[in-house]
Symmetry: C2
Subunit: 434 residues, 2 copies
């Protein structure tokens, strides 16, 4: 065997049933199986809180597989459908090249069905979750990306996505942003932006955003003799329940949205764990003056947060609550904090317990609820814009305000899963080549 023969095996982080069993194994390097496939050489792959569902044996999964649904890398092979321009196929089928740097959402998606065209890529009927028995994950040196023209996001060609930023600014940002910060695009940053975007665009929040009462807020007809909103009425009160990495991203996104739209705000970020609260405080401190004068932002434990919302709103409650945990107690807290005619946006991954409310409770509070998984592929453009704006927050590793705690090799994979599961460490990134 000489060095000119390409390697046929690689290292990968593998999960073994029934639970808590992570092993680094030597496995074959994947090959193109379908003309729409890409093979990606992984530069970095992250460990995500939702990986712990399977790790703990709660995922209903019983097959050995390569872990991980957050990865960034470089295209090393493309199927035969790349290179040809075919009308109404995703642009990457005609533009993606070997050597391009790419990030992927946590699920594959075709990009060319009705659901994908709507932007609801996380529910593409052909989509699969990376790092599951259905699709090998990114905690490996190489992986296969199916439907890659629909799935991947080309970080070497910023002309491939729309943005409020100019091509020049995007290009410069791409040259400056670290791989570890770009990796946040894979899941947690778009999920945070998704939560905040749903809330601020909800009909029930529009009186605050537009300054016109419901339902005048939906029309441009001149107001009559209605009593108009006061300045005080137009303060958007938001609670964010759960300050894991996605909760931090949701917080930063919500702060950015209110600053960009010029909306006065009161935002409370809530977590019972002090270390998480300290992280969010450090993140907030590292944000510049952007809109800060227009609002109040506090980070509190559960009981203190309830008191704060009562004091702010005289008992009315929050206009919107972002629920970023995914269990019944988080939903119950969200319901307690939200006002009548308020909105709960839930991006937490919920399990089997029945929704802990009666129909009467929902009716009596006129509550709105948005559930579910972020369509990460569709959310990349605004998430990228936020990444560029908030490099102060998303750029670092291992600092007080960093979302990423450490970057380690696969030799530390099993221990990292164990410690992350126990809450002993924050978000970990694997460098498969370290």
């Amino acid at each position: 065997m000489t060095s000119s023969v390409p390697p046929s095996t690689q290292s990968a982080v593998r999960w073994f049933p029934p639970s808590y069993d992570i092993r680094v194994e030597t496995v074959p390097i994947p090959q193109i199986q379908d003309p729409d496939d890409a093979i990606v050489k992984v530069k970095l792959a992250a460990l995500c809180g939702s990986d712990l569902h399977i790790y703990r044996g709660h995922g209903g999964v019983d097959a050995v597989h390569t872990c991980g649904h957050e990865f960034i890398g470089e295209v090393v092979a493309l199927g035969s459908n790349f290179g040809a321009k075919v009308e109404r196929r995703p642009f990457l089928y005609s533009s993606l090249k070997v050597g391009d740097k790419v990030v992927s959402p946590f699920t594959s998606n075709c990009g060319e069905c009705h659901v994908c065209r709507m932007g609801y890529t996380a529910r593409c009927p052909k989509g699969k979750l990376f790092g599951s028995p259905a699709l090998e994950g990114g905690q490996a040196q190489f992986l296969r990306v199916p439907m890659a023209g629909g799935t991947l996001f080309n970080l070497s060609d910023p002309s491939t996505w729309s943005s409020n930023l100019s091509q020049e600014i995007k290009q410069q940002a791409l040259s400056e942003l670290s791989d570890s910060s770009l990796l946040l695009l894979a899941d947690i940053l778009p999920t945070g932006v998704f939560a905040a975007t749903q809330a601020i665009n909800h009909p029930k929040v529009q009186p605050v955003v537009t300054g016109r009462p419901w339902p005048l807020c939906f029309s441009d007809s001149p107001a009559g003799n209605e009593v108009m909103l006061t300045q005080e009425d137009r303060i958007l009160t938001v609670a964010i329940v759960g300050l894991g990495p996605v909760g931090v991203c949701a917080t930063v996104s919500m702060l950015d949205l209110v600053a960009t739209k010029g909306i006065p705000y009161r935002i409370v970020a809530i977590d019972p764990v002090e270390s998480r609260r300290e992280k969010v405080k450090a993140v907030y401190d590292s944000i510049g003056d952007d809109g800060k004068g227009r609002g109040e932002f506090v980070v509190l434990g559960i009981d203190a947060a309830k008191e704060q919302v009562k004091a702010w709103t005289k008992g009315t409650g929050c206009n919107a609550v972002l629920e970023v945990v995914g269990n019944s107690s988080a939903l119950t807290l969200a319901f307690e904090l939200v006002r009548a005619f308020g909105v709960i946006t839930s991006v937490g991954v919920h399990g089997e317990p029945q929704i802990p409310f009666t129909g009467r409770e929902f009716y009596n509070k006129n509550v709105s609820l948005d559930f579910g998984r972020c369509p990460a592929r569709a959310m990349f453009p605004p998430a990228f814009d936020l990444l560029v704006k908030r490099q102060d927050v998303f750029g670092g590793v291992g600092q007080a305000n960093s979302l990423i705690d450490r970057i380690v090799g696969f030799n530390e994979a099993a221990e990292s899963y164990r410690a992350f599961d126990k809450g002993e460490i924050g978000k970990v990134i694997f460098d498969p080549w370290k």
Copy 2:
């Protein structure tokens, strides 16, 4: 006693505990108790499906009271706060006069608190439900309206509300519309408009409305190389579950919204009861050509509706489902019909059963849900506009396409409650002077 002495007693339809006991009694005519009060002489008062909750003894109510929360009438007395213009008080405190014709929402509301200014009048902290032990109802010859400047809607002065219609058209419509059709403003018409308005303004429906994928639909930034929606993608598919009077109003409102906004549509109106389906078919037939060429509209039973939605959407499901029933089986049907990233708007009055879904089910379908009571006072302007546009539908009594079945005197009150409860008759209006 001579005829020059004003009467001090009146007839009223009263409910007696524990259930199914309706009596017409002679009771005192109410007097001004508070400077914000109005006394209204009732011209017509309607029987509403939600009256049946108390009628059947399901309302948790045990005190004798005058029934009814839908009424139209004439102001005969005003408290001392009327006539003076006070800044930021509702306009009617300075403009309402004895002799004005008024309609009321089914709950009182102050019109001057934060919740009311937002337009969420149905949840005014000071509000009370007419026809409950907290507030005597409208099925009487006279009633007292508290916080009347905030609560009432002045049908004698169309300058008091904003509208897309000109003052001239509003004035002419007010002179032409029958009292029985204006009475629909009290509850069922605004509730139907509310259901449709919430759905069509929901973020998850915006790709269909704007033609731009999520989340581009929220920005005006130029699209990049995204795959854009096709004509087929832009067809709004809606189901309306429950075709009682509110369901009919929701159907007419949804048809009007898609016609006005120029949105291609497929709408299925669903009820297991054939007579209700026949009513909706007659209503649809009486609507002119307005936008009909742009969509499909069908009225079906439950199983046929499921098949229809599958056939229309190749199994994807509806963008929005309006749930106008208020029980678990209606919610379950709505959930079955709605697509991933779809919206369920529920205006049905739900009871004590727990919401019949797990968190996992909500997460996996990315479902959005809007619950609760219509802020009828705030919805009067668009509901009035729809009333004017659709006099063909809302104008009649006792015809195949009429929402109102009959107008009777109080002597038929007890029998009307009984027959309405049994589903033997449609919507009944009482004329207290007949």
